[in-house]
Symmetry: C2
DNA sequence: TTAAAGTTTTTGGTAAGCCTAATATTAAAA
DNA sequence: TTTTAATATTAGGCTTACCAAAAACTTTAA
């Protein structure tokens, strides 16, 4: 019950799920361009999904998902949205947030995803919203708390958005 | 300058870095048991690291890192610590935090890591620390803000730590 | 309705990482 | 010092997932 599907399996299911939600059907070409792979790769993978009962595909026809495949696609999409929302809260630029969500959505423990989800609701529904976010943004720039009386931890200094060279 | 090293390359460098910091030297067996792979896999990978100038290894001798390999090992270790600290702040149990940090440490954009780091310092050094954390924990259990007057977002409900079956 | 253009599939190959089994080397114990 | 145990290495194979080139099929346009 632990880790059943490969990252790539999940990527394909998520892609098919999203494409179908958007245009009603998914062709091989849609999938391959969505995932930025060549058509033969998509054909090969879709065949495997078909054999595993996650997708349905007959030659030259559209791809659809079985209930199981669709469930996984939906779960991964939801995780993506959750993670993306979190990253945007902490001021990660949208494009980076999106691509990092693609990484995180696959292998995090469900409890971690749940707590990230909680954090997002907590911040968004807090009585001091959106001041909290503003304070955070100021802190990122200055390393100081705008409205507080307490000293900040020694040795800690905000990691400026403009100082990314080393990448720790 | 973007993504130069594979996840596994980084895993091996981080493992060697940590083992060396702990016991002064790294044998093949240390590495293979640290990463939970068989010795031949470690030998093969260490050989590649050697050929790429990231590690130094002569047959039957200890493995060490070159300056470049060590730098990468250190960066990944630091990332791990940052992410782990963040996950612990949001009440993810230590073991899960540790294994999820192993996943996240590799492919997140440096800016994302930086902002997570900022978030950790922000929370830890805040004037209302540690009340903020306590409020968050209560929110996780109840879905309510303890000290606030503002309604919480409709449709949102805290994802209880005990309700993890589906794993969204 | 046939030709051209576009899409899908097949075929054959590659690379990363893992494994087992067998062999070689080193370290420890008798 | 010689035997035994532990460790390291080589050899040969596997799986996943990618690709390019070529063949097969569909769709569109003449």
């Amino acid at each position: 019950m632990e880790k059943i599907f490969s990252r790539k399996t999940e990527d394909y299911l998520e892609a098919i799920f999203k494409i179908m939600n958007e245009k009603g059907y998914a062709k091989i070409k849609d999938i391959s361009s969505f995932l930025d792979v060549r058509p033969p790769s998509a054909v090969e993978m879709v065949k495997k999904l078909n054999d595993r009962g996650l997708a349905i595909h007959k030659k030259y026809e559209c791809v659809t998902l079985t209930p199981e495949g669709e469930e996984i696609g939906r779960i991964i999409s939801d995780r993506h949205a959750t993670i993306r929302a979190f990253l945007e809260i902490i001021s990660v630029p949208k494009e980076i947030a999106d691509s990092d969500a693609c990484v995180m959505e696959h292998e995090l423990h469900p409890e971690t995803i749940g707590q990230i989800k909680n954090l997002v609701s907590f911040v968004k529904s807090a009585p001091d919203h959106p001041e909290w976010l503003e304070h955070f943004e100021i802190f990122c720039k200055t390393g100081e708390h705008t409205c507080g009386e307490k000293k900040h931890a020694e040795g800690e200094k905000a990691h400026s958005l403009t100082t990314l060279s080393i990448g720790i």
